[in-house]
Amino acid sequence: MKANIYINAIKQISAQNALCEEWFEKPIYYSENFVKSLDEDYRQYFSPNEVRRLGKMLKRALLTARKALESNENKSLDAIITGTGLGCLENTELFLDRMVRQGEQMLNPTQFMNSTHNTISSLIAIDTGCKGYNSTHTHNGVSFEHALFDAVMLLNKDNNTTAMVCGHDEMTPTYFNFLQKAGYLGQQGETFASETAVAMLLSRQQTDYSFCKIEAIDILYGQPSDIVNIYQPPTEIDAIMTGINGFDKNDNIYTDVCGKLFADTPILQYKNIFGENYTASALGIYVAAECIKLGVVPLHLLYNKKRPKSIRKILSYNHFGGKNHAFVLLSK
């Protein structure tokens, strides 16, 4: 789908320092296989009651949303759309664990209330007072792109809309262990498992602070061989931002599809410093947007040693399980 939309604000809390772009010059590297996000001191931002009541992910969601709005020229907000692969995992696990271990009584309603995927978008709505469009997409590793796609449809329809698109996932030790057994995280050679909190503001109006433009977004379902046939690749791109993570089974799909569609284009990575999780691609798009804004790609993001000549157009390509393929074209 074609688009003509600007990303005007982005805020993140992740395995790199929060709410800033220090990873660009001084990335933090990890040797562990599971890393929690580097949280802010939330007492600075929330009431004692909120600090106690809200889980980490919800605090991250509210803080990134507030900071994104603060940094935007336009303070109004018309829509909130979140992508989350696992939803409110910690509360889900707490409720589930207690139910399985102690039986079906004396369960905590607050944990249940805070376990549904849409808790994130709806809490941001309460916090910002945004009563407009509100949705949550939860389609595995392409949840964020589906949220972005939804926002693009909304903005294509209405010229004056400001939409917030968020990507949120948290990870617990138990689920890291489960997902490792399921062959998703902590695999041979794979980067660390991590968490994502990203809030972006999108509009059709460019501002002095705009990061980049979204020119197109396509999300397809099928085997890589089908995708190569269906997807119509853009021309003249400077680099491809991929979800390469060090695990061959994952990476081979990127090199295979990129090789067929974009033979000599430099390949970039971000999971080496941000880790792997269901909405890590929100961080990938953020990283690509920052590179376009500054017109440079730092060395630690180069995958195949090819340095892009200029950096005006980056295609973000994210696949999940080799079945879901998301392409987001970003430009200066």
């Binding site: 039986g103 249940f112 549904t116 849409n118 808790t119 978008s121 709505a125 509100n134 949550t136 939860t138």
Partner: protein
């Protein structure tokens, strides 16, 4: 651009397909019974279960008994199969077109996770079920069974999930991002959310009584329902010998932003969802003949929704009923189940009764439909789905 509903598929406590569902309405036969299929210590609770075991559904679908699956996906596969057939589509046509599946679900494969959680930790004999917990995997299982979708997405806005899936699918058609959309939702009952709703103390131990002054809460239900959406142009090009089943006139998604689980007492969210849906459908309140209410039977919802209906329609209130006293609250699937029920009402000129109703709510100036109402002229029907977090969506379907 006109968007047509060209196929429907439904499985719920009141039937395994559209025909059985219509029959249940005509006979006023509820599907809410004591728990039979779910393994739980709350045996006293009444639920609207699909009257099939997973094994029976697998047999129906031709899936081998040894293939790991989850109840939500099995129900989804059945409803999608019926929808495709009723649209007179075949897998070849769908594979050759840009066919899209959008599924609304929240519990995904929690039914197996709660059974095997201890095993995941201790034994490693059920690990193939780990990734099935995710909502997205459930949608992919439905898509992979049918093997004809080029785009697959999952929406989770609690009890309005399926309604938002339909809304999103219609928008994809308008923006030429799809040729054929299969949208709706699927959700089985799990101990997880049965206990969740129970801990919130919003489950009625008797059959639920939507819009009754004595209502005590909801009965959980389960099911799956999907609609096939196509543009008028695409449908005409297919040269099918029959009329489309209905037109999707428009809808609205709003957020009440009032409270994490409760609705406001003056029904602002519900009011806005219905009002904006009417505007998007280019209709006046007086054009609506039937409101298929969200009507869960909880104190909070029915008051809030009732007040909103009263604010929007004043003294000229159309037929109103909640079909949750037939199906139970099918949570994330409800928007799909009730969209299909609304279309069945249009097709068969019936208004489903609001069974179990006895005592009018003193706060409201209207009564839900309590008697068998057949051979009525229905042109436009609005279907409400309101979720936790104030995720309120209304959809409008019309006779073609």
């Amino acid at each position: 651009m006109r968007i047509f509903v060209t196929g429907i598929g439904i499985i719920s406590a009141i039937g395994n397909n559209a025909t059985e569902t219509t029959q249940s309405f005509i006979r006023a036969k509820s599907g809410i019974c004591p728990i039979r299929y779910l393994s739980t210590s709350h045996k006293n609770l009444l639920v609207g279960e699909v009257k099939q075991t997973n094994e029976e559904m697998k047999r129906f679908l031709g899936i081998s008994q040894s293939t790991p699956s989850i109840r939500t996906a099995l129900m989804g596969m059945i409803a999608v199969e019926e929808a495709i057939r009723s649209a007179m589509l075949d897998k070849k046509t769908m594979s050759d077109s840009m066919s899209v599946l959008i599924n609304g679900t929240t519990v995904g494969g929690m039914d197996k996770v709660e059974d095997f959680y201890t095993d995941f930790i201790e034994n490693d004999t059920k690990n193939e079920y780990i990734h099935m917990q995710h909502c997205g995997t459930c949608s992919e299982m439905i898509a992979d069974y049918h093997r004809c979708f080029k785009k697959v997405n999952t929406i989770s806005t609690a009890c309005s999930s399926a309604a938002n899936a339909i809304l999103s699918g219609a928008e994809m058609l308008r923006q030429a991002e799809a040729d054929i959309v299969v949208a709706g939702g699927s959700e089985c009952i799990t101990r997880f959310h049965l206990n969740g709703f129970n801990s919130l103390m919003i489950i009625d131990e008797s059959p639920c009584r939507p819009f009754d002054a004595m209502r005590q809460g909801l009965n959980l239900g389960e099911g799956a329902a999907f609609v096939i959406l196509e543009t008028e142009e695409h449908f005409n090009k297919r040269a099918v010998q029959s009329k489309p089943l209905a037109e999707f006139k428009g809808g609205a998604n709003v957020c009440e932003a009032y409270h994490q689980t409760a609705s406001s007492p003056n029904g602002n969210g519900a009011f806005k969802a219905m009002k904006v849906a009417l505007k998007n459908a280019n209709l006046q309140p007086s054009d609506i003949d039937y409101i298929n209410a969200h009507g869960t039977g909880t104190q909070n919802n029915d008051l809030s929704e009732g007040i909103a209906i009263q604010r929007l329609w004043g003294n000229e209130i159309p037929y109103v009923s909640s079909t949750k006293s037939f199906t139970g609250h099918t949570t994330s699937a409800a928007g799909g189940v009730e969209a299909v029920i609304s279309i069945l009402a249009l097709q068969n000129s019936i208004v489903p009764q609001n069974i179990n109703f006895e005592n009018p709510m003193p706060e409201l100036n209207f009564l839900p439909v309590v008697e068998k109402t057949q051979n009525v002229k229905l042109t436009n029907v609005i279907s409400n789905s309101f979720g936790f977090g104030g995720n309120d969506t209304s959809l409008i379907f019309s006779k073609v």
